[in-house]
């Protein structure tokens, strides 16, 4: 069996240090430069819940050919402090190089001792490290300098100049060294890719779908969704408001949506927990709202800056009573963009809550992206104005979908009620009406089922080994399967970009015909496997689970596949 790190076209750079050492800045700069140079990247952030100190890393896997997942072995370790080396030493790949300040006492491994003090001012030492890595990876000096320019964008000229100098000195210095490090093949592409993380892509997808309102209460790892919207609010005409709490956030979104603005919220498990009553409200009043839940390890506050996939069942059943919903689970940065659009479409069409379930790993991971085409915007039709009054907001229809007008934008009055209501929206205690309304609402499930994004199969037809995944683990699972295949086992993957509703005919044959099926989930109890069983009776007998806060890697999966399933 081959390992991910043995792929000749990929290598992994890990930059580690304390919060406050400028790690994110230089890593992003490096990523951007790599992407501009045409490389593919998977750049994963791993940080502690503190502002200064602690231990953070930015792991940049870079390749000349497409890649989809982070990897474990480190080829180039940039240790901004001594702690970094100690922690990551066990992960060094054969032939790895460590970059560290010349004052650090690092032995037994190939190390490049850099005289940072001589190369840069104290505050620009991080940028010198950036230059060193850029040079080693064979990036042109100008590529890094241009990336730096866009970063400063004309602001702080002094700091910018200081940083430029640091890069320059790094390149000059390294020219004089003999650094033995395997080079990547030159990248093949000439397209102009962009670099996005999952949350940015999600926000941009929402903007393309027409989002006009977002309310939020800050919560890691969701906050960068509203921050991205805020950044572009001026140009896109979006109203984004920081609410007093999450309950307010979702109720504001519901109010804005009722008044016609495509609306969303973004939060994580604990914040979402506070929104649960209002999810039910959106279900009852049939108000569209897109809810981004960026998962992190729980229960309670848990590990605020790490990743997990343990809120699937919670989100699926959140809210008292029964009403339709859809849960989209993007498996890549591209899917964040696409499914964000779909979420708004479904929310609008089926008039209720639609979820985007992501996690810290996907939210924070940067990828190179071919700019999305924006010419197929989802359709937000002006609701047809019924001409025969009285207008009935909740008219009983065959599809369960009733004509939705916007208060103030028609001659009609629009009445919505969280109590059970008549067709015209007014409170009722008529128990026949109750029954009809329950059925009307649930009837919308049929339409939602017809629009499900079906699971994506990849790999050998009639595989002996089938790996089932949902959400952010897609890349790692697909790479793991590729490695298994390279080892001679017929392997396939089934990725679910949508976990609710489930349409058994999309996947049941695939499941039942594979001799070995393994569910890969970032939780401790196999939630999705349980859901598959609840809906189909099919029991997935094997699991690869992860619940230590870190994302899946191909290596992690390969180590845990059931014995005998790989050749």
């Amino acid at each position: 069996m081959t390992n991910a790190n043995e792929q000749p076209n990929a290598l992994q750079v890990v930059i580690g240090g304390e919060a406050g050492q400028g790690l994110v800045t230089i890593s992003e700069l490096l990523c951007r430069s790599l992407v501009r140079a045409g490389y593919h990247i998977v750049a994963t952030q791993s940080y502690m819940s503190r502002i200064r100190g602690g231990h953070n890393t930015f792991a940049i896997r870079v390749a000349s050919a497409p890649i989809a997942a982070p990897q474990e072995p480190i080829d180039l370790l940039v240790a901004l402090n001594a702690d970094t080396f100690q922690r990551h030493r066990p992960e060094l790949a054969p032939g790895a190089l460590v970059i560290a300040d010349e004052k650090e006492d690092i032995r037994d491994v190939p190390v490049l001792n850099v005289p940072f003090e001589r190369l840069a001012s104290k505050t620009a030492e991080n940028m010198a490290a950036c230059g060193i890595v850029g040079a080693i990876l064979g990036l042109e000096r100008a590529t890094l300098e241009h990336a730096l320019e866009s970063f400063f964008d004309g602001k702080h000229p002094e700091g910018a100049e200081d940083n430029r100098k640091a890069i320059s000195s790094a390149y000059d210095w390294i020219g004089a060294q003999k650094v033995a490090f395997r080079n990547l093949p030159a990248p093949p592409r000439s397209a102009a890719p962009i670099m996005l993380n999952g949350n940015e892509a999600l926000a941009l997808g929402a903007l393309n779908a027409g989002v006009k309102f977002c309310a939020f209460y800050p919560m890691t790892p969701a906050t960068t969704v509203p921050l991205t919207l805020i950044k572009h609010a001026g140009k896109m005409g979006t109203v984004v408001e920081q609410a007093e709490d999450e309950i307010a956030a979702i109720n504001m979104a519901i109010g804005a949506s009722f008044a016609g603005a495509p609306a969303m919220v973004a939060t994580s498990g604990g914040g979402f927990a506070l929104m649960v009553e209002s999810v039910s409200l959106a279900g009852m009043t049939e108000t569209p709202v897109v809810i981004v839940v960026a998962q992190r390890p729980a229960p309670a506050t848990g590990l605020p800056t790490r990743t997990e996939q343990a809120d699937l069942e919670f989100v699926l059943h959140a809210g008292h009573g029964e009403f339709p919903r859809a849960i989209l689970t993007p498996g890549s940065v591209e899917e964040c963009f696409e499914l964000a659009q779909k979420a708004f479409l479904l929310a609008d069409r089926y008039q209720g809550p639609v979820f985007l379930l992501t996690d810290q790993f996907l939210a924070d991971t940067y990828r190179d992206i071919v700019p999305f085409t924006l010419d197929t915007p989802p359709h937000w039709p002006a609701p047809p104005e019924p001409d025969n009054p009285p207008y009935k907001r909740y008219a009983l229809t065959e599809t369960g979908i009733s004509p939705r007008l916007i208060p103030g934008l028609s001659r009609h009055r629009v009445v919505a009620d969280s109590d059970e209501h008549t067709e015209d929206g007014h409170i009722t205690e008529d128990l026949d009406v109750r029954r009809a309304m329950v059925e009307k609402r649930l009837h919308k499930m049929l339409g939602l089922e017809a629009e499900v994004s079906p699971p994506v199969f990849q790999g050998d037809a009639h595989p002996d080994l089938l790996l089932v995944s949902w959400g952010s683990s897609r890349g790692a699972v697909e790479e793991a399967a590729a490695i298994v295949r390279a080892g001679g086992t017929r392997a396939g993957t089934l990725h679910f970009p949508q976990v609710w509703p489930l349409v058994p005919k999309h996947f049941l044959d695939t499941l039942t015909s594979a001799p070995t099926v393994v569910a890969i989930e970032g939780n401790a109890t196999g939630q999705f496997a349980r859901l598959i069983r609840a809906e189909t009776g099919f029991h997935i007998p094997h699991h690869v689970l992860r619940y230590d806060g870190l994302p899946f890697t191909p290596e992690y999966i390969l180590r845990r596949l059931p014995h005998g399933t790989t050749a």
Binding site: L204, I254, A259, A261, R411, R413, A416
Partner: protein, 290 residues
């Protein structure tokens, strides 16, 4: 039924409906005053959005002909805030009970005051939880006895006027359901105030509040209009605490802070629902991520 938009708005435009309230309830006076105020403001029903929570008071907007979002207990204010931001042209009125607005929804009240969003809040303050059959509300007086508080209430009552004035709310007024004409005037002034307006309305609950009855309020409530300048913060603060033989009703405090929605350029051109998606701008934005 549909009138051309230039016809004057009259009371029948707001309709007459059967209610689920107890005979003699103070809510009737408030309903009357609200309709009167809407007519006085010459607001067409389709341009008015009521947002309410849950409780006896929160049913009120079902009994007139306007747009309505009757949401969750305690959550009327954020819904109203979202709706106002989505469409500045709507007249947004929140109507709910003291439990809903000062209890479950307390955090939103504070935030709404701080924002100064142009929303008019009508609190039916009966100093009791009516719909759930008579537990103490945040405004129940100390010592007030209920089935849930058999030894009397031990918490100090929430004083909505004192808090609003201390927080320099845009507009703070107290009314009494037993003075519907006076109340209609307050509501009209509140709606026309271009910012957040809190109108706390004393409302007898004949079924559960046997202390703060119609007679109790009636003998205490007197208007301050002729003797008080609502721009005078110190005087307003004094009046906010005036609660014994005399309970002052009227506009206690008012200022002219800019309304919250005026800070959002996106709100200016018209309803968000009618703003196109500028995909050229978005394309430029996408490329800026290179």
């Amino acid at each position: 039924m549909e009138q051309p938009p230039d016809t004057p708005v009259t009371l029948p435009d707001y309709g007459e409906y059967e209610t689920a309230w107890c005979p003699g309830c103070g809510n009737f006076g408030i309903l009357k005053a609200v309709k009167q105020a809407l007519v006085a403001c010459q607001l067409r029903p389709e341009s008015v959005l009521f947002v309410s929570g849950i409780g006896q008071a929160a049913k009120a907007p079902h009994y007139l002909n306007a747009n309505l979002f009757n949401g969750l207990h305690g959550r009327a204010l954020p819904v109203a805030t979202g709706a106002k931001l989505a469409n500045r042209a709507l007249t947004v009125i929140v109507e709910s009970g003291d439990g809903c607005l000062y209890g479950e929804g307390g955090n939103h009240l504070i935030a709404a005051i701080r924002r100064n969003i142009h929303v008019t809040v009508l609190t039916h303050n009966n100093q009791i939880y009516g719909l759930t059959k008579g537990q103490a509300s945040p405004t129940s007086m100390e010592g007030f006895v209920t089935k849930a508080q058999p030894d009397g209430v031990h918490s100090q009552p929430f004083n909505p006027m004192a808090t609003a004035v201390a927080m320099k709310a845009g507009f703070a007024a107290r009314g009494f359901s037993g003075m519907p004409d006076h109340l209609a005037g307050l509501i009209q002034a509140g709606i026309n105030h271009p910012g957040f307006a809190l109108i706390d309305i004393l409302q007898p609950c004949v079924s559960f509040n046997k202390v703060n009855t119609f007679a109790w309020y009636k003998s205490r409530c007197r208007d301050v209009a002729n003797t008080h300048d609502p721009a005078n913060w110190e005087a307003a603060m004094k009046l906010a605490f005036q609660w014994d033989d005399w309970i002052p009703v009227g506009i206690l405090y008012k200022n002219d802070r800019a309304p919250f929605e005026s800070y959002f350029p996106a709100c200016a051109p018209g309803p968000l629902a009618e703003q196109p998606v500028d995909r050229n701008a978005l394309r430029q934005i996408l490329l800026s991520y290179a």
